[in-house]
């Protein structure tokens, strides 16, 4: 009997890949799916379940299902990719210095004069003269 292609394994691996590559361009855009990446984890879970079901049927009924080797390889690869993502969000993205030195509430905000994107010098005192308040958003930059 011709053995059928084990679509579950490949579909599962595709879901895992989609989960991984969609985080930055899609889910990281929305705080609700960025701060705790539950949507990504859910996709990982679905992908893993599909792969597991595919590998299970490949080993249980190898006469009819292919995928003993490819399934094992893709399962291991998926586990590696998932581990990489989990490490990134739980460890690597937290590798910033502590904020002990940061100024706190009721301290004076140090004045500044900095160039904007057109090269014009912008001073904090001018900004505060023209507005009721300022929100300063410090970010890492893209270098």
């Amino acid at each position: 009997m011709k053995r059928r292609r084990n679509i579950l394994i490949w579909a599962g691996f595709a879901v895992v890949l989609i989960a991984l590559v969609s985080y930055i361009p899609v889910f990281a855009l929305f705080p609700a799916t960025r701060d705790v990446p539950w949507a990504t984890y859910l996709l990982f879970l679905i992908g893993s379940a599909l792969i597991a079901a595919g590998v299970r049927r490949a080993f249980r009924d190898p006469e009819r299902n292919r995928g003993k080797i490819s399934g094992s390889i893709l399962a291991a690869l998926s586990a590696l990719l998932i581990a990489l993502f989990v490490a990134s969000v739980t460890y690597y993205s937290k590798q910033i210095p502590s904020a002990e030195a940061a100024l706190g509430v009721s301290q004076k905000a140090p004045p500044f004069v900095l160039a904007d994107i057109a090269g014009n010098e912008i001073s904090s005192s001018d900004l505060l003269r023209n507005h009721r308040g300022l929100v300063l958003v410090f970010y890492r930059g893209y270098w």
Binding site: F112, D116, L127, N130, V135, V137
Partner: protein, 107 residues
């Protein structure tokens, strides 16, 4: 950044300006603002002097050991006093504009 842009009108309605600060050059920030459509000021602090004064330096955090800013948000009132601060411990997790707006409404 994107969520601040989306709520920019609400900040402007309260007469509060949003300002982004990093070590990026004006040219780099201009590219960013053009590609993402940011309309609030992006200021360049190449030597991280202002970043250092606010205590949000990430020493050698950038490419090639360059000093950069750690993510942080400050609300400064018209008298130049800091009224609200958000210091994350995770570069992915930034202040939500809603919480800054709520802090402004409490001023």
């Amino acid at each position: 950044m994107r969520s601040f842009e989306q709520h920019l009108n609400e900040f402007h309605q309260r007469d509060v300006e949003v300002v982004a600060i990093s070590v990026d050059s004006p040219a780099e920030s201009q590219k960013l603002c053009q590609s993402r459509g940011y309309k609030f000021p992006f200021l360049s602090d190449p030597k991280a002097e202002t970043i250092r004064q606010y205590g949000v330096l990430h020493a050698k955090g950038g490419e090639g050991g360059k000093d950069i800013a750690r993510p942080a948000e400050f609300l400064v009132d018209a008298a130049g006093t800091i009224r609200w601060v958000n210091l994350t411990d995770d570069i992915r997790v930034r202040a939500r504009p809603e919480s800054v707006l709520a802090a402004i409404d409490r001023l």
